[in-house]
Symmetry: D4
Subunit: 247 residues, 8 copies
Amino acid sequence: MDGPALRQLLDDVRTGVVSPDDAASRLRRLPYADLGFAKVDHHRVVRQGIAEAVYGPGKTAEQCASIVAELVDGPEGSGGPVLLTRATDDQAEAALVRTPGGVRTGWTVVWNAVPQRTGRIIVITAGTGDLPVAEECSTTLEAYGFRPELLVDCGVAGVHRLLDVAGVLAEADAVVVVAGMEGALASVVGGITPAPVVAIPTSTGYGSSFEGITALLAMLSSCAAGITVVGIDNGFGAACAIARLLP
Amino acid sequence: MDGPALRQLLDDVRTGVVSPDDAASRLRRLPYADLGFAKVDHHRVVRQGIAEAVYGPGKTAEQCASIVAELVDGPEGSGGPVLLTRATDDQAEAALVRTPGGVRTGWTVVWNAVPQRTGRIIVITAGTGDLPVAEECSTTLEAYGFRPELLVDCGVAGVHRLLDVAGVLAEADAVVVVAGMEGALASVVGGITPAPVVAIPTSTGYGSSFEGITALLAMLSSCAAGITVVGIDNGFGAACAIARLLP
Amino acid sequence: MDGPALRQLLDDVRTGVVSPDDAASRLRRLPYADLGFAKVDHHRVVRQGIAEAVYGPGKTAEQCASIVAELVDGPEGSGGPVLLTRATDDQAEAALVRTPGGVRTGWTVVWNAVPQRTGRIIVITAGTGDLPVAEECSTTLEAYGFRPELLVDCGVAGVHRLLDVAGVLAEADAVVVVAGMEGALASVVGGITPAPVVAIPTSTGYGSSFEGITALLAMLSSCAAGITVVGIDNGFGAACAIARLLP
Amino acid sequence: MDGPALRQLLDDVRTGVVSPDDAASRLRRLPYADLGFAKVDHHRVVRQGIAEAVYGPGKTAEQCASIVAELVDGPEGSGGPVLLTRATDDQAEAALVRTPGGVRTGWTVVWNAVPQRTGRIIVITAGTGDLPVAEECSTTLEAYGFRPELLVDCGVAGVHRLLDVAGVLAEADAVVVVAGMEGALASVVGGITPAPVVAIPTSTGYGSSFEGITALLAMLSSCAAGITVVGIDNGFGAACAIARLLP
Amino acid sequence: MDGPALRQLLDDVRTGVVSPDDAASRLRRLPYADLGFAKVDHHRVVRQGIAEAVYGPGKTAEQCASIVAELVDGPEGSGGPVLLTRATDDQAEAALVRTPGGVRTGWTVVWNAVPQRTGRIIVITAGTGDLPVAEECSTTLEAYGFRPELLVDCGVAGVHRLLDVAGVLAEADAVVVVAGMEGALASVVGGITPAPVVAIPTSTGYGSSFEGITALLAMLSSCAAGITVVGIDNGFGAACAIARLLP
Amino acid sequence: MDGPALRQLLDDVRTGVVSPDDAASRLRRLPYADLGFAKVDHHRVVRQGIAEAVYGPGKTAEQCASIVAELVDGPEGSGGPVLLTRATDDQAEAALVRTPGGVRTGWTVVWNAVPQRTGRIIVITAGTGDLPVAEECSTTLEAYGFRPELLVDCGVAGVHRLLDVAGVLAEADAVVVVAGMEGALASVVGGITPAPVVAIPTSTGYGSSFEGITALLAMLSSCAAGITVVGIDNGFGAACAIARLLP
Amino acid sequence: MDGPALRQLLDDVRTGVVSPDDAASRLRRLPYADLGFAKVDHHRVVRQGIAEAVYGPGKTAEQCASIVAELVDGPEGSGGPVLLTRATDDQAEAALVRTPGGVRTGWTVVWNAVPQRTGRIIVITAGTGDLPVAEECSTTLEAYGFRPELLVDCGVAGVHRLLDVAGVLAEADAVVVVAGMEGALASVVGGITPAPVVAIPTSTGYGSSFEGITALLAMLSSCAAGITVVGIDNGFGAACAIARLLP
Amino acid sequence: MDGPALRQLLDDVRTGVVSPDDAASRLRRLPYADLGFAKVDHHRVVRQGIAEAVYGPGKTAEQCASIVAELVDGPEGSGGPVLLTRATDDQAEAALVRTPGGVRTGWTVVWNAVPQRTGRIIVITAGTGDLPVAEECSTTLEAYGFRPELLVDCGVAGVHRLLDVAGVLAEADAVVVVAGMEGALASVVGGITPAPVVAIPTSTGYGSSFEGITALLAMLSSCAAGITVVGIDNGFGAACAIARLLP
């Protein structure tokens, strides 16, 4: 309702096409559906360029199914991909039964994935334990139409494994680094590539990893300039950040 | 030395243009100058697409001046902008005397700024106290050729001030959010714009702000998907992140 | 026994109506019942204006039932609503069997709710995951005679959803903000309404939310002046704070 | 511009009194003055019921003076009290020279204090070291027209000193508890009075007080139900909270 | 072997009663039994005046039983009470089967309790949830021969409940305060009694209690001088501290 | 006013010796002097058995002098030693000029020290850097009439230095352990002596000592049972704890 | 490929034995096997002198078995011991079925242990609860060919138990100290022996041990110079550190 | 006095060469000199193999001078190098005037450096800001007779600078890694060299480096096995660790 639409509405008021009361009402009406326990946002993809995601934890399977159904099949539609994230088996099944057509990968279900987009995106992980978070990131990127390449197990303690992929990294359009423990992979990758680097600290590791805090702090303090960071284990968020920056 | 250059070198060895010893030496020679107390990296701009920055704190004025001189006027040149950051008056003066032509803004000095680039970048701050960090970010962006717009004092407690600039934010190519205290501005901006959003938590605030930790945690936990974060007060890093993502 | 009652007691001593020994005894007698494992406080509602609540965790079902019975049906009665909070099924059932007439909502059971009071109270939540805490708050408010309105899923990433309810917020007598993750909702609401705002940080969220610490710190650092905060997930406490401030 | 004003504007558009362009412009025009380094908010007192405060730290004396002048003497006026908080001598003097009529108490300067309001407010401190924060709170309350009573040095280690004022506390309309170290005063006061209690943790104390964190945590965990808390040393915020809740 | 015993041993060497080799051996021999997985210390009660306790967690039932048996029935005997603490049912049963005569209370089993000692010790708790820790403390005190009095549910929010027992506290020989949440009880008790006060923070509480850290910090920062503190939930340690200070 | 005095007062009311109004007034009158900025507590030594201490930081020299004068020379007198702690030169001089007769040691000034008491107290420090805190403790103990012995520089890395004093420790009536860095001295001393051990963590050390937090945590987790702990650098508090436990 | 091998390869290019394309390929080929979900590093033992370990948690039993098989029986072999650490029963069995010959001790399985090496290594623990971590360390040391001696239950509270083994410690080639709670054992051992001391903080203990953080901080702050520390519970890491330093 | 010496002493008692009283005295006499404010340890070099160091902070210049004098020129001598660390100008001068012959480098002064030892030790730093800590480490190593090589400014963001020195690292006898910010250098170095690696986290860096905590945690969580860590900025400690492990 910004810019031209607002101007048009006011013109319509002036010419009598729309009554002032209707205009006031429309100025206040907002593009979401109220399900009682949740407000479903149909225009997020327009406003933010990112898909609406339903975060599973803390919701019943029925609530998940209802919100997904509203987003995918509601009167306005979401105009973009719809994701159910961190879903349990029950939540995923309930949503897929009510709204068929979704594709499940790990703990993520995607409906209405966007057609393929260009852009070479690398998702690189330090260890095998970082795979579930990397998978959440990849699946979300695929919902946006990307075809990310996954490079696994490239921890800096075997720096030659990393150098082997240096060429690939240098030519990427964007790189997502997924690492737990001391998170040093982000710094080394950041020094190799001129591409945007989004770092995801993971809760992988034990003892002094402190559930991802060590990797988080290390990535924020990286000596490689221009690296940005998302929250611990937030594969979805990193993918959304990539979707914001690529055309 | 990756790809074609390596192939060429090996061809030269085969044809005798380059002796094996020279090739081995060149394979090991790396493009930096060793000043004794620092290794100056001439090819970072090529490798990472970002400028070489000299971080002032902990260095003598003389050391700052020497490193800057090597980067700007050394035999290989840096091939890009050179920054002296967090510089004291003494450091800035020593560097400017030895290497004239730099431009100082606040605690940052820039040599060899890149010619103007396109791309609409907004740097938005929550309060007046965030200005020094925003200025470091803007100055660094200008070194890369951008002409960032600065929107000040848009804290969410006066949300109408923020809505006033919603149109500008929605059309930006990238947005840097600079906020201390509770850092909520990042979430609200992230919900308004589809552009990439890089958030800088600042140490502005008192009491329960804990020198920026509160804003940092809040930005990492943002309910607006796809926001990325850099370290506390790291205006330079956020600018480098923008430089990585814009063409 | 402060003021007039003390004066009367001493007059009664002077006139011989009460013997000094009895007076000394009464000056020491305190209005609670000692159940052995708990001291039941019959006068809290008089002294503090708030109901006595039995906190379930760490107590046996039998202990819960005994304390509730003493408060509701004991010789002095509590003179106000009685709550059993964070009750398990076993605890709630044991108490309801022994003291019928209570009403259970979620993990809270209420006996002797106060007759309806005026006062427009809004309980607003950032996400669906904040509902259980909001419900604890609402149920406690209802025990005090209020009829709170619940506004769900108003997170700041979709700030238009929030603006839609701005009028309601501006006219409220008190607002309770329930939010996890980065807790930014409290700041935005605080900037919209002149009413008292009590913020409850919730342990909703993951990764960098740190079980509610992020929201807690953010709310304490809010740039919207005059917001007050209760402990993490403390819906009961926020309701009591509202009961203290409304007539 | 909510409710009747919006309706009027749209009527004016319909009747041609206001052109659509002007209406669009007015719908976007917001009641603040942009000084370049700050946006001065003239309507906060209307919107939030609280005064606009200029937080001194991080601003030059000249900036403080300019913002105060705009708020007190600007074309729209603030419609309420104006405060300069945590002001240095230089800041306070610069602002008072440019905008006479302010009254300075400690590190706070007040212009346009509201005429006296009813409401008995007690500000109670645990120790002498809490006085500066209590004074910031009292001065802010006075700007809102209250006449707070200050009770000093009532720490719980001498609980008889506290009981001496129990009657006063029980009859107050609101109580602000200011305490550092272990912050226990808030719990004891909360058990004595039925009035709203706002607790301010202070950075008073040493060693294990951890600059107010201990008192903050203790107040948030208080066993006295219905206490609310503001940030460490935030006397201004507590006063604003009181102003929100009293008529 | 300090003082007279050492002198005697050396005299015995001089007179030939003990050979130098035997003396060297005895100087090195130490009064414990090595069970392979544990070294059982028979002389702790002599050296430290406190019982040997076997801490259950992390040991098998068989290991617990073996260590207890060595301490109670071993060739040297322990010369004092023997405790098995934090015992599971399995551990307690295995130890009682192998070494009958122990008495179990909650998660503690005691063998060879000392005959009754004088000394009036009060164990006072803030809430019902603190009872298990208070019970560990009482049971340990009983092993040392004390007859502690338990005062339950005396939280400071109902300060009159506490004043009711002020006389008892003032005359005690030692007081143990057991409190979670904000731990304020320690400060108030410390201000009432001249006796030694040992405070035990408990992990009771929720949200901002942070598993006892809040109470711990508050007790360490107490405004009542001369209070000492033991670790979180350490009822055993507090009892040992009392045993050290009473004759 | 507890027990006999209360009984007497009520008898006096009954016989007309005291009027009810006077009695009510006396029941409310409490034994402190109100200086406006502080309430001076004359009966603390009676009530708690410990001296009243004036904590210097945050008070003006004049305030320190006034409070000390009231305590030492006021109409009721303090009935015990008076201390000014953490005093600056200005504070100490102002107090000594107004109330001669005090003795200054380091940052502590003592008036009215108690005549010599029996009881062998050892104050043992790990390093030279712990001396100022040990001195605060010793000076306070001397105010209570003790003659503590100071053992310096007995860190556990040279465990033979500690064993050299094992005999002294074993025979002490109480031991205060003062240690920073890793605080291990408390555990070793606690294993050597059966006496009460009060541990003071100090902020001595650097890097990973974290201003005393490391020593504090280590002492609270000590494997030597029955050690109690006071706050970081709290030499005064440890001395008060000793005064509580010795006759 | 460093030094002579690189020289040889380039000679081969010059003489035509190897084509430039092949050389470029070989320069990029790295000695690991890519299993898809993991890159198996065959040359770590050469490069770092330490075995390749497969960390169990977060991997399926099948993944563990595949990686172990590749390392033990792959075309290049690992050239050294192979460990599966923190293995569940399922993981250990799957790996042993597929690659027989491994030896399991606790949660560690070892294949291809190195023949016996000289070097006297002591692994000393503070309590029985530290045994599992000590066992992980011992088993790893045995994989490297050492025969470590285990000294258990030598906590500093019974310092005489420790002195009993002082001679053994003084003559060791390296000492590993395994301790939870306050971790003081590291300091005392460090003061007794001139050998390298590697300290492992364990998560043993309760309450104020904070899952090993207390011991970790204490060991890092040790007053015994020259102690080094590994992460919490990292018995494997400590053993690798020993393997690096002994010939 | 362990082993043969003890046997000899007891023989001497038996034969009358030494009286029992003298023997008892000698058994208790320990090889340190008591200066009143410090116990000077003459045998540490024998017992621990490391030099005695005087830590400057918190000591007067006079105390530093006295302790150094006792160690260098005392009746027993220290038998090894003596260091004064973190010395101010005043402390260094006072000690050098009283005990000439020391050599000062930065904040460290060394007397009686050991003659040259073999062993190739690399001290490698991530940035210029790490130099002071690296220098403390190098100077201490030189006191032990080593000739460490210093490699500066090898941060992982320019990983090619690091690879350039990979050969040197691979052949070292020991490597000390000195790094602040995210501390990733330790992991990369640990993956390159089979030598012992001791990592020193430094407080270099800003914002999210948190005074060295980030680097400390990262080093403790390193994915390169067998790295050990000392406390923040503890260059002295790392050097002592090296001295323990090299012959």
